[in-house]
């Protein structure tokens, strides 16, 4: 299973919620109207803007689609080698 590091830059996030719409299992809005990162709908160790999670190939594709949907490029995705997959 691929491991992805998913990060939301809260300074760039404007709460458009595109990521939440496309990948609701991975993103949720907090009280400040910013997206934060989930692990399959769960929040182990609490709310965070960055998380490394194991995903299926299908989930990976959808998470990348969700990042591509963000109008402010606030979602940054890296692979397990630390290479940034999106934005590139």
């Amino acid at each position: 299973m691929p491991r992805l590091t998913i990060k939301v830059d809260p300074d760039l996030c404007i709460g458009a919620a595109s990521c939440v719409t496309v990948a609701p299992e991975t993103f949720r809005l907090n009280d400040e109207n910013k997206a934060y990162v989930l692990d399959h709908g769960q929040e182990p160790e609490g709310s965070t803007y960055e998380r490394t999670i194991e995903v299926s190939e299908e989930e990976k594709e959808n998470i990348i689609l969700s990042a591509q949907s963000c109008p402010t490029l606030a979602v940054i995705i890296s692979d397990e080698e630390g290479n940034q997959i999106y934005p590139i």
Binding site: G15, R28, S69
Partner: protein, 387 residues
């Protein structure tokens, strides 16, 4: 198979991506009025306050179109559609035939009847470059005026605030965004703006711009306001003339079903120009958001190559009014609502719940964004009882 996409914004490009992925050999023609590769309109404000450099707002490179074998026709627009013979006429006189057509040409800003140096709009990257040039020209003597009480006005408030420009905001309604917000929410925003040094002038309209070649002042009824820089944000409207003439059904936008299909075979619409039969509220809705444009573009693209995907989402707008959050969720038509319940105070934020058919169909939140997710869920799940 030839797919013709009218509109090079996020809806059109999202459709191109889906089509190319599933049909590597199909011909894709993208007709774009602008000359730039795809960029994020949402980032124009961040660019204008220097938060991000200009090159960072682009979502595609110049070479991407060629790499994807997309015939990118820039700086052109469609002048006519022949839906019987399946072709569109372009502004350079060419005719392009199609097997499947997507109309995703978005909206244009409503313009004032006159123009002077110092008048600005904020829809395109060229508009943003123009505003930046005006800001450079004016340096420290700028007297800012914003005309409009909606999303673009929020962008101007931020830009002017960042550039230390004295600001007056005027709008036609009795309070900010009065088509959607109630008097209490409007009052809260007005107080917030005043607290941040903005002069608020409700219930006026611009009668005349003063100045010879450059803007010197603005006349609203009996008053004259000194102004050297005017930001106009009085709404947007789609160009539907040639689309209507072709027999495509339109109201406020192009009417489509949840598969983004119009009433004419092989013609689809997506993004700001589309008016979708919303499955949650049961009404036709125009929700001109980035998220909707992405999703609708993808769905239209998938269906143009034979898919059967549907658009079903609770749309939402989110904006920051000089740091005060305002969120609109779902169907926020005051006219269509049977009841609107207002909750809260200016101290804790104000919510409106729009009720129809005994259930919540929409909501607005000013200064209380924490309720956004549960309200979105309640609307999505068609809950009868309020939270």
């Amino acid at each position: 198979m030839r797919y013709v996409i009218v509109g090079g914004g996020i809806a059109g490009v999202s459709a191109c991506e889906v089509i190319r992925k599933k049909d590597p050999k199909g011909e894709i023609v993208l007709i774009d009025t602008e000359e730039h590769p795809l960029y994020s309109r949402v980032l124009l404000g961040a660019y204008l306050v220097g938060k991000i450099p200009r090159e960072k707002i682009f979502l595609k490179t110049e070479s991407w179109y060629e790499e994807q074998k997309i015939e990118w026709l820039r700086g052109l627009h469609v002048t006519a559609l022949d839906s019987i013979n399946h072709h569109v006429a372009l502004s350079d006189g060419r005719e392009i035939s199609y097997n499947k057509l997507l109309l995703a040409s978005g909206c244009q800003p409503r313009l004032l009847g006159e123009d002077l140096r110092g008048v600005s709009y904020l829809r395109t990257l060229d508009d943003a470059d123009h505003l930046l040039q005006l800001l450079r020209e004016q340096e420290n003597n700028t007297c800012g005026f914003i005309y409009g009480g909606g999303f673009i006005a929020c962008e101007y408030l931020w830009i002017f605030y960042h550039h230390h420009i004295s600001t007056t905001i005027a709008f036609r309604g009795p309070w900010f965004w009065s088509k959607v917000l109630d008097a209490q929410s409007g009052g809260m925003i007005e107080k917030w703006l005043q607290k941040n040094g903005v002069r608020v002038v409700p219930a006026v309209s611009i009668q005349k711009l003063l100045g010879q070649e450059t803007l010197e002042g603005i006349e609203t009824g009996e008053q004259i306001w000194e102004s050297t820089l005017l930001g106009v944000g009085i709404g947007t409207t789609p160009e539907l003339h040639w689309i209507k003439e072709a027999g495509v059904q339109t109201q406020e936008g192009i009417c489509v079903d949840t598969r983004m299909k119009t009433n004419i075979p092989d013609i689809y619409a997506a993004g700001d120009i589309a008016e979708v039969k919303d499955q949650i509220s049961g009404r036709s809705l125009v929700a001109r958001t980035w998220t909707n444009a992405v999703l609708q573009g993808r769905i239209a693209g998938a269906n143009m190559i034979g898919g059967s995907e549907t658009f079903e989402t609770v749309s939402s707008y989110s904006m920051s009014i000089l740091g005060l959050d305002a969120v609109f969720i779902g169907d926020t038509s005051r006219k269509a609502a049977e009841e609107i319940i207002v909750e809260g105070t200016q101290e804790v934020g104000i919510a409106q719940h729009f009720i129809r058919g005994g259930r919540i169909v929409g909501a607005t939140l000013v200064g209380r964004s924490q309720e956004r997710s549960p309200l979105t869920k309640a609307i999505q799940e068609k809950k009868k009882e309020l939270l």
